[in-house]
């Protein structure tokens, strides 16, 4: 079993480092071999919305940079964990830059999921998804939107299980561990 951490912190940050360390610890406990991308250190161009990954080089982005490598690593994984500051209730631009490049994982054609139109799967199996967001200060509205966004991503990403939660910058390590353990339980990894 493999896990992938997509670290979207725009700069080194003690809380993000603490979350990352706990994630690595937990992943090791569950026997997952883990790879991490610190996205600020990777050269990843913005998706240009050209749809070349569907109609020119199906399944692969036409931009040859680390964005391709991240997408390949996602498809190699059983669990993908987003680590990001909660930015207006969403993800940081560092993380989003990588996520926007993931659409070659899907087919351009449509299907219906829960009564809504989404893209068809390109592959038979997709990884589970987890997200840990770091709030600058306690804020229920931002936390709720973050969790909603991730649950929407899980639908579009065909995730077999998903969970998202938040911690507040500067919180105690024990608080982080409590949140992370609950997320592992929700995604099904802990079973």
């Amino acid at each position: 079993m493999k896990a992938l951490i997509l670290n979207g912190s725009p700069e080194p940050n003690p809380t993000a480092d603490a979350v990352r360390d706990i994630l690595l610890d937990e992943l090791r406990t569950y026997g997952l071999e883990t790879r991490e991308f610190v996205l600020r250190d990777e050269k990843i161009a913005y998706c240009t919305g050209c749809f070349g990954c569907w109609i020119k080089t199906p399944g692969e982005c036409v931009i040859d940079d680390a964005g391709r490598e991240v997408t390949k690593a996602i498809m190699e994984s059983d669990l993908v964990v987003y680590l990001t500051p909660v930015t207006f209730g969403g993800y940081s631009s560092e993380l989003k830059k990588a996520l926007d490049r993931m659409i070659p994982m899907l087919s351009p054609f449509f299907t219906k999921i829960g009564g809504e139109i989404h893209h068809q799967e390109r592959y038979d199996r997709y990884p589970g998804m987890m997200a840990v967001g770091i709030l600058a200060e306690p804020n229920d509205e931002s936390a709720r939107l973050f969790e909603t966004l991730h649950s929407r991503n899980a639908i579009n990403g065909n995730a077999p299980g998903s969970a998202a939660g938040t911690v507040v910058a500067g919180c105690e390590v024990d608080d982080i561990r409590t949140v992370v353990e609950a997320l592992f339980s929700k995604t099904g990894v802990a079973q």
Binding site: C50, M75, Y91, L149, N153
Partner: protein, 229 residues
């Protein structure tokens, strides 16, 4: 609003040429010009290419009475470039507060037939305004944005009747200092065509483009399949 009111229209589509968001932004700009606004139109991704571009974006932000953000839905939220632009704008506002009311409207269009799939993205825009001391005027959500494809709304006939009306009402609301009305929100969310037809046209379009690129037989390729084993 008086004749010197200024609007910043920020296009969040990363496409270098014409785009569905550009189509909507052009109509909004024309409408606001007719109401006496002076318009600065900025493409977020272009602004991010240079320090000068970012300085110019932030200057337009400081000058604006009204901000309109128009963008496509990417992975249930804003495209990364637009997210980066909003991060820079929020950071700038924390460093350089202004003693003047600014208002913002967001318009999100997506490639699915359902407008409601834009809700999380509009929520993010709203929280950007909350975090940046800007008054939230409201958000418009459009499904099936793919049909716009960079075309002029004026040449698209009855199919876009509701969305044109929605934009016109919303622009009047903005100009008069009102929140975007529910009538505009409801009109914008009306489908431009039946769901089944949108899906059929979309499927045909992908096949046509793949055929043109000589990859029709590769549309379902799985280049990372081996990696999954």
């Amino acid at each position: 609003m008086n004749s010197t009111s200024k609007a910043l229209i920020m296009i969040g589509s990363p496409k270098p040429g014409k785009s569905a968001s550009g189509t909507l932004a052009t109509h909004i700009a024309e409408n606001l010009v007719a109401k006496g606004f002076q318009i600065d139109t900025v493409h977020a991704n272009e602004a991010l290419r240079s320090d000068e571009g970012v300085r110019s974006l932030l200057a337009s932000f400081d000058n604006a009475d009204v901000i309109v953000v128009v963008f496509p839905l990417y992975v249930d939220s804003l495209p990364a470039g637009l997210t980066k632009a909003l991060e820079l704008m929020a950071e700038h506002r924390r460093a350089v507060p202004i003693d003047r009311k600014q208002r913002m409207m967001a318009v999100c269009q997506n490639g699915f037939p359902e407008a409601h799939q834009n809700e999380t993205a509009l929520g993010i825009c709203r929280l950007f305004t909350r975090d940046s001391g800007i008054e939230w005027a409201g958000g418009l959500a459009l499904g099936g944005g793919g049909v716009l494809d960079g075309r002029e709304l004026g040449k698209m006939g009855g199919m876009v009747r509701n969305l044109v009306k929605a934009l016109d009402i919303a622009c009047s609301d903005l100009a008069d200092g009102r929140p975007v009305s529910q009538e505009a929100v409801a009109l914008m969310a009306k489908p431009t065509m039946p769901k089944w037809l949108y899906v059929a046209i979309g499927s045909y379009g992908w096949k046509r483009l793949a055929k043109k690129n000589q990859v029709l037989d590769r549309l379902h390729d799985r280049p990372y399949q081996e990696s999954r084993k």
